[in-house]
Symmetry: C2
Subunit: 321 residues, 2 copies
């Protein structure tokens, strides 16, 4: 159930993809009392999910047919590279379905939907949760508990489907952050995709370029800073390459700041500006964890919701009417 004012809805959920995120979402939605079915391209995953008691259709086509018949919310939970194929199936089987995703890159997802399933009633989503693990077995119903869940809030989106996606997020234990697709992509480039890229650079400079002694000595700070490099590389690539326009300015900022630190270390020997700024930024983040929670009336215009997100608010449910 949601944290604030729990959504009360019986809309069924059709999950396409049963990896870490899709598999956790299926579990969380079932726990919240929703009717849930799924499909997966992996026979092994299908067998494992069925053995755990979940309803896995024989094919994505069958899952989508049922979604059309029962007016379900379809959740795309496949890597970005697999999205066009699934969208073509959506267009063929359930062209006007209610559609969201948990793929992580919003502008690229929106453009793919426009290209491959233009009639779908699509509202993008992105739960800020995950681990370095992947696959059905790594999932859990509690993965989204207390997590922020971006729900795309660009003008012109279908308000009924927007409510469907928000209610799914709340039912999974998340808090809703309404954000425009480009704003979302610029933000996640900095807080997720850049950390992955820096982790790759650091792992290589330390463990590959540093030789046997560096490998032996690497512990706490190295271990945490490079943890995400345990993730399957193709998943990291799909998400970083899929957000090229968001990631480039973030990388440029990092190069600029690292270059400035290098110059200062080489010339004066001092790193105070860099380290003090990093310490302050981390404090800002600690403070932001107590983001003000709020509820909103069910038909609040999306522009007003975006304004709330820009001032750091997170939504926990509908204001009782």
């Amino acid at each position: 159930m949601g944290l604030g004012c729990p959504a009360v809805t019986t809309r069924p959920i059709c999950v396409i993809g049963l990896g870490l995120i899709g598999g956790s979402l299926a579990r969380a939605a079932v726990t919240a009392g929703r009717t849930v079915w799924a499909s997966t391209a992996s026979e092994t995953t299908a067998a494992a999910a069925r053995a755990d008691g979940y309803d896995v259709a024989a094919s994505t086509e069958q899952a989508l047919e049922r979604a059309k018949a029962e007016d379900a919310l379809v959740v795309l939970a496949v890597p970005l590279t697999a999205v066009p194929d699934v969208l073509r199936q959506v267009r063929a089987v359930a062209p006007e379905c209610r559609l969201t995703d948990v793929v992580s890159v919003q502008a690229a997802m929106r453009d793919a939907v426009r290209a491959h399933a233009p009639e779908a009633r699509y509202v993008g989503g992105h739960p800020m949760a995950g681990t370095e693990e992947s696959g059905w077995a790594a999932g859990s119903a509690g993965l989204f508990q207390g997590a922020n869940w971006v729900v795309a809030a660009d003008d012109g989106l279908d308000p009924e489907v927007w409510a469907d996606v928000a209610e799914l997020a709340w039912d999974c234990g998340g808090r809703v952050v309404p954000a425009g697709a480009e704003d979302h992509d610029a933000a996640v480039a900095r807080i997720s995709h850049l950390p992955h890229l820096l982790a790759a650079v650091l792992a290589t400079v330390a463990a590959e370029d540093g030789g046997e002694l560096a490998l032996t000595l690497a512990a706490g700070s190295f271990a945490d800073a490079t943890r995400v490099m345990d993730t399957r590389p193709e998943l990291v690539l799909a998400m970083c390459e899929g957000n090229r326009s968001g990631l480039l300015p973030a990388v440029d900022d990092a190069l600029g700041r690292l270059g400035a630190a290098r110059g200062s270390l080489a010339s004066t020997g001092g790193l105070a500006a860099t380290i003090n700024a990093g310490h302050r930024a981390r404090e800002l983040w600690h403070q932001a964890k107590s983001a003000p929670e709020t509820t909103v009336p069910r038909h609040t215009p999306l522009a007003d919701l975006r304004a709330l997100a820009h001032t750091g608010h997170v939504l926990t449910g509908w204001t009782p009417s």
Copy 2:
């Protein structure tokens, strides 16, 4: 007690500084059965340690006088910036004492000892353990359990004191890595100081440059990659600035690899070379955690010990004679 062949020695330990590392070392050495006393510049810390049952001298001078009288091993556990002052006291009170440190930068420590306490029988040390916390209250006797502990192994060091330091490491639960000072500093620049610098850059680019939305969305990958920015900035500065010559080439490698990734993303849109290299490097590190453990005869030449470390071996005790 040590993990391999436990050291049997009764040499007393005099710890100067009772922060996270010094305080943990005092606890671990007491747990191992050693006689331990300490000094600290902080009256608050002295009171807290005494309340926990530890023997804290009235002054560093008194602690060092007792070290001279009882031929103790003196352990410097103060920030690098405080080292010269303490070394001048060593020279005044116990000029020829057995001396080691846990300060983290080896070449700078060695040079400081040469400058300020040239008669001390100094062998540098660096346990690879720590957290983002600091202070006496954050310490624990188990902090060094299974941790690698660098003991300087440059030619010409006093073999008796070398054995003292190795035995202290083993008694605290650590495994000894014999390495030359410059090799040590080059390695820790990559696996500890560069991670701190990149964490500072990332925290700033994400949480400061990214605005309110980025702050709200920052979670797993950001949190882990910037954890060390919770550390007190002056401790991070002392260690990074104190290893300037080791850190500069590591920063240059990071700038080169990040710049190459930037170029590839901008031109072809691809990041496979960067991400795959990072993933491979992290796998190398996982494999290195099962470093071969070995024992050595008590009077093995330091050059032979260094050769063992260069092939990834860690020492767990003396080979029984």
